[in-house]
């Protein structure tokens, strides 16, 4: 097939793939590389379910082309836990019941990870605005904000 050869790093591992010039990073991650934890809710950058961290930037992978991954570092939800040890955000999402249906959860975890990397001690308002690009229809966000607050506190202590 006519495709662009891309060499990249995903969750710390080297990855190579061929993709069409107009193929999104989301399509590549899900359909070519099998990283189904990256969810598609809209395909237009409005819901944040497909959030990944590209180098040090939080992006909607549906708005990034697969070809743009060349030589970059991509972090997805699949890379958050270390073996069977959950990331503090994952653990706190479970403890606070910050998910109901769970479809938005991978995107929220990635967005929260990016937020805490840049601001380890955010106020409630900073969390709310930091996560405003991610839609959740089940929880009303209350328990998500509390889980992020709790995880931030654990991560600062660690």
């Amino acid at each position: 097939m006519a495709g662009i050869a891309v060499s990249t790093t995903i969750n710390g591992d080297h990855a190579e793939f061929l993709c069409h010039p107009d193929e999104t990073l989301l399509e590549v991650l899900r359909e070519r590389l099998g990283l189904m934890g990256v969810k598609e809710g809209c395909g237009t950058g409005d819901c944040g379910a497909c959030s990944v961290i590209l180098d040090d930037r939080l992006v909607c992978s549906c708005l990034v082309l697969g070809a743009e991954a060349e030589g970059r570092q991509i972090a997805t939800v699949e890379g958050m836990a270390q073996g069977d040890r959950l990331h503090p955000l994952q653990q706190k999402f479970l403890e606070h019941a910050a998910l109901q249906c769970g479809i938005c959860t991978p995107g929220f975890l990635i967005a929260a990870k990016d937020l805490l990397a840049k601001n380890p001690d955010p106020t409630e308002e900073e969390i709310r605005f930091g996560l405003a690009g991610n839609l959740c229809r089940c929880t009303g966000y209350d328990k998500i904000v509390r889980a992020v607050q709790d995880a931030a506190s654990v991560m600062r202590g660690a």
Binding site: G41, T44, C101, T105, G133, C138, T139, G140, D142
Partner: protein
């Protein structure tokens, strides 16, 4: 099964605790598989062609070019889904909605579909299908469609529920009426009367996961369907009927579901995927785009509601009257009937009348949305109640307390109430610190009540005890928000074992008896009843096996805290046998140990909630900010209180979005103008405050632990609570939601 009063005083060991859900780790690590996360070897990708017209006769569909396009393996139209509904009009409507037969009835109505080797090819092939439309006049507004001279959508619809029977077709499919007493006489006696007309716009359930399925039909007549749904057994029935398959040969597996809220209660694209797979002889994956989800699935009714309520000087409501017009899309439904039943359900009324009209419009087929139809009626009634309280000169909460329904009250929809929670939620709100907090400039506080019936339904569970003493609970009600956790708690409670020893899974349609879908707040209510009964059946067997092991009569064996206990003078010295020990010996005491249950879980308890909302309005821009929000609701018994809180908070957030932002916007051309999350704006994290919750527990007399449904009632009060808050903040009665900034400005300038 009835409530065991001893449970009221009993201290539960598992029920009421807050453990981590069994499906949690998979959901935070990305391993949980939703509708679109499943692929089959050799699968094709399906795509649907949709009408760009609101109302048009389909003259001709030419699929020949698409069929010849390289990589296309099947093209289907209505001709590939022949009518097998045998006079079942509601199934015929579902079939016609899945694939338009003679007319396209709304912008987004499916007219053809293709299956191709990849999404790119399928998309290109859609463009090669020629559809010849003959445009018809359309109508998308509920009031315009109600008018006598409106364009007629379905010439076979004659209004039911009117006498004499109408002699000409109209867009009004049904009139329904409820109530008792003499409303006109009561109204004439009233010292104060409020009469208003309210409008609500159409909203979507807004689940984040688009509809998705993988269908695989084999040439031997067997088929598999992987799908995100609120009811895989219901989807099996629908698909089997529409495709002419035997139900037992169609195995439906429900994926994890990324939200439903009523929108995944009947089939949309699944029969199309099956028809494509049958024709192509290969598996077909079909995932809707977000645009398709908005244009073709879901939405709730748009409404127009007249309310008139009269009260005496002492604050007693003497008469209440409402006329409710609900749009239902282009097919008849009964959404207005439900609005008419729920409208005044919170109150004790001597004279009450509600009349509902169901109105066809050229918009997508209306689907249930969390306590369907109740929020709009509550918005109209609770707004008028607030205004009437002011006229009478009473506090909004006291006025409602004075008129609240109670045990023995004749409900506005007919029957007499048993024990109910409206009074207690109002008392809790009256005493809540939120009601006493001070407000600043341009800020207002509103409160409102809400009611929902809750339902039970057909339910089946299997409880299997493994040789190692762990328990596998197979459930047939799809888990939409944590019910596997609550049902594991219930199984642990009954068996007297640890929550960690129980693992609940959702079984596919070939592995369990029929289950109604997860709707009507029934998931935990009905499956917990079935689980209790399955566990009790298993305990009977466990006791018999222990009796064998001890060689004593089974009557002398009781079950206590996860152990068989030998009773009676002669057996007093036998050490208790644990579930694990009995399970380990099961191979030689009669084989596997299991408990099954097949029930109709009737007797769900009606549910009430009262909400408080503080809001700030910017008078220059009309922008609003929710400052504080409190939910008080009766749960009967909260099995997993954290997830009960989650239901309260989630429903409130959806209601706030409905009240302030969300609406379908149609152009004059009858096309939907905001089919995406950017322009159809659901609340985001920065739009909302923390949502406080207070769980009341007034036991449901028809459930062994007192459980009522909790999923839906929380979306009923917010529209009115927010509207009352805005009205109080700006000093003008808001009558049209959503209260978007332009509408608030218009109300201020009027």
């Amino acid at each position: 099964m009835t409530f065991d009063p001893s449970h009221a005083a009993r201290s539960f060991s598992s029920v009421g605790t807050r453990p981590i859900r069994p499906d949690g780790v998979d959901k935070v690590t990305g391993r949980a598989r939703y509708g679109a996360d499943f692929n089959m070897p050799g699968q094709l990708i399906g795509r649907i062609l949709r009408s760009p017209h609101a109302h048009a006769v389909i003259r001709k569909i030419d699929t020949s070019k698409a069929e010849q396009f390289p990589g296309v393996k099947a093209v289907v139209t209505a001709a590939d889904l022949p009518d097998l509904t045998d006079g079942d009009t509601s199934m015929y409507d579902i079939l016609d909605n899945c694939m338009a037969r003679n007319k396209a009835l709304y912008d987004g109505h499916a007219v053809a579909a293709v299956a191709a080797i990849d999404a790119r090819t399928a998309k290109q092939a859609l463009k090669l299908i020629d559809v010849e439309y003959e445009l018809l006049p359309h109508v998308t507004d509920v009031d315009q469609a109600f008018a006598a001279d409106a364009p007629l959508i379905n010439e076979t619809i004659f209004t039911t529920g009117v006498d004499p029977k109408p002699d000409r077709a109209s867009n009004v499919s049904m009139r329904s009426q409820f109530g008792h007493g003499d409303v006109d006489a009561g109204m004439a006696e009233a010292d104060f009367v409020v009469a208003r007309t309210f409008k609500t716009e159409q909203t979507h359930q807004g689940y984040i996961e688009p509809h998705a399925c993988v269908a695989n039909v084999s040439s031997d007549g067997t088929a598999d369907l992987w799908v995100c749904t609120q009811g895989h057994f219901v989807y099996r029935q629908h698909c089997a009927q529409l495709l002419g398959l035997e139900a037992s040969r169609l195995r439906v597996t429900s994926s994890e579901i990324g939200g439903g809220f009523g929108g995944k209660t009947h089939v949309w694209a699944e029969p199309v995927a099956l028809a494509l797979s049958r024709k192509a002889g290969r598996p077909v994956k079909l995932v809707m785009t977000r645009d398709e989800v908005f244009r073709a699935t879901g939405p709730t009714s748009a409404t127009s509601i007249d309310v008139k309520i009269g009260a005496m000087k002492d604050g007693t409501i003497i008469a209440a009257d409402a006329t409710l017009r609900y749009s239902c899309g282009p097919y008849a439904g009964s959404w207005a009937e439900v609005g008419a039943m729920t409208a005044f359900a919170c109150y004790k009324l001597e004279n009450v009348r509600t009349v509902g009209y169901e109105v066809l419009v050229n918009r997508p087929k209306t689907a249930a949305y969390r306590a369907p139809s109740a929020p709009m009626a509550a918005f109209a009634v609770e707004s008028a109640i607030d205004e009437l309280a002011k006229k009478v000169g009473m506090d909004a909460v006291d006025f409602r307390i004075k008129n609240a329904a109670q045990e023995g009250t004749k409900a506005s929809y007919g029957p007499v109430y048993g024990p109910i929670g409206i009074g207690p939620t109002l008392e809790a709100v009256k005493n809540h610190p939120h009601m006493k907090a001070s407000l600043g400039k341009n800020q207002g506080r509103g409160m409102a009540c809400g009611f929902w019936f809750n339902f039970g339904g057909q339910t089946c569970t299997d409880l299997n005890i493994g040789m190692d003493g762990t328990v596998s609970l197979a459930v047939g009600t799809v888990d939409v928000g944590g019910s596997r956790a609550s049902l594991s708690l219930v199984a642990a409670e009954e068996l007297g074992i640890d929550y960690a020893q129980v693992r609940a899974v959702i079984a596919d349609t070939s592995s369990l008896g029929y289950n109604d879908m997860t709707d009507g707040s029934r998931g935990t209510f009905s499956s917990s009843m079935a689980t209790i009964s399955a566990a009790r059946n298993a305990i009977k067997i466990l006791r018999a096996r222990a009796a064998q092991m001890w060689d004593i009569p089974v009557e002398d064996v009781t079950w206590e805290k996860g152990h068989a206990v030998a009773k009676g003078e002669t057996h007093g010295n036998l050490p208790n046998l644990s579930l694990k020990e009995i399970a380990a010996a099961s191979g030689t005491t009669g084989g596997p140990i299991a408990g099954h249950s097949e029930i109709v879980a009737d007797g769900a308890g009606v549910s009430f909630a009262t909400h408080i909302c503080d809001i700030e309005v910017d008078p220059e821009t009309g922008a609003t900010k929710v400052l504080r929000y409190t939910v008080v609701q009766d749960a009967g018994k909260a099995v997993h209180p954290t997830y009960v809180e989650g239901q309260y908070q989630g429903g409130a957030a959806q209601g706030i979005g409905w009240a302030l932002n969300e609406e379908y916007i149609y152009g004059k051309d009858g096309r939907l103008q905001n089919a995406g999350f950017l322009d159809y704006r659901i609340p985001v994290c920065s739009d909302l405050p923390m949502i406080d919750t207070q769980i009341l527990e007034i036991p449901n007399p028809n459930h062994p632990y007192g459980v009522r449904g909790v999923g839906e009632t929380s979306i009923v009060p917010p529209l009115a609570a927010v509207a009352n808050a805005v009205s109080n903040a700006v000093g003008v009665r808001m009558q049209h939601i959503p209260m978007s900034p332009p509408r608030i400005l218009a109300a201020l300038e009027a």
